[in-house]
Subunit: 210 residues, 2 copies
């Protein structure tokens, strides 16, 4: 199809399509004549992918570019690919705030992961992130111990299984892109559910004082 039809079918303006091509986010069309390029269904899928991530998921273009590189590098194991998605969704500080609570929190997290029987690398960033959360809660005077997080683990476990059951077969870029888009969208869905659950339960609890 011509760029005008690609624009019509994707809802993306022609100028934006050309911008994505210049920025390397979209492969160029095949030149069929001087000044005329032909685009295929994979361009349409790629455009939809970019629009979902920069639209409802609110990812910036440089994160989308990182994701596209990770998707196209088919030797990258899926769990690393998902980690790139999760990192783009909730970017985390590389440097922890110093706190005497951090070391015991990290031990608690490691023990929790052991109890769950989860296969998570000892140096996985998520262990550090969770330890920082536990330490910060402690420093803020919240007396929730590590068992407080068991329901979080159960919920994450269930939702991830449900998500992975949708995983398309195949390791080619299209299947990987679909998996990435779903993971990102489901994280947004969970955040939206959380907002509604907050509103509901606060309405129920404080109906008399609101």
């Amino acid at each position: 199809m011509r760029i005008s039809e690609l624009s019509r079918r994707s809802g993306v303006p022609v100028g934006t399509i050309k911008f994505y091509v210049r920025e390397g986010l979209l492969p160029p069309g095949e030149l069929t004549a001087r000044n005329q390029a032909e685009y295929g269904e994979h361009h349409l899928r790629r455009l939809r992918f970019i629009r979902v991530l920069t639209g409802i998921v609110q990812m910036d273009l440089s994160s989308v570019r990182d994701l596209l590189l990770a998707i196209e590098y088919e030797h990258l194991p899926l769990h690393d690919l998902f980690d790139v998605v999760n990192e783009a969704l909730v970017p985390q500080a590389k440097v922890a705030m110093p706190s005497p609570s951090l070391a015991p929190a990290r031990s608690d997290v490691d023990e929790l992961v052991d109890r769950l029987g989860w296969r998570v690398a000892p140096d996985a960033a998520a262990r550090d992130i969770l330890a920082q959360v536990v330490a910060a809660l402690h420093d803020l005077g919240c007396d929730c111990d590590i068992d407080f997080f068991l329901p979080f683990a159960a919920a994450a476990d269930q939702l991830v299984v449900q998500e992975l059951d949708l995983l398309p077969a195949g390791r080619e870029a299209d299947a990987r892109a679909a998996a990435v888009a779903r993971a990102a969208l489901l994280a947004v869905a969970m955040a939206a559910m959380r907002r509604m659950a907050h509103e509901h339960h606060l309405a129920v609890r404080y109906a008399d004082v609101a």
Copy 2:
């Protein structure tokens, strides 16, 4: 205490404390002599709050400022306060991408909220966000209907109840700040759990091919 002690106890450099005061994020200390100000425990709590949100939660300073205003405006109902937190955590596009799937998705979401019996305003932003997710998943060829999201609702429900059970009594700014910091930290905890659950389940499923 003097600013030097405030700095030592909070771990925040003196220059940064002065910056926060200039930016209106931290109230100035009480002048006890020319060029000498006295700070109290509430300054220390406020500093810890700012450091948690800009550190592990990775919020930008302008979102923190919005949150502080919402915390201090004690007439703002708690559910609106939590909505400010949730919006700062996962900022959402105000304009939906046009898609013919959006209107039916919105109906599906409204029906789901009805079935759940949740008290959520008809014009709550989260309804639109979830509808956009459902529409985008549909447009990406994912055949998950609205029932797919029931476990998400159950998980959100459970985690929010658990979180609200921690809610300190009182409506004064300190209690509200503690509630906000917890909500933000628990969202980060959930994201970290999700990362670990992804890693674990992908390791289990693709142990042979990874």
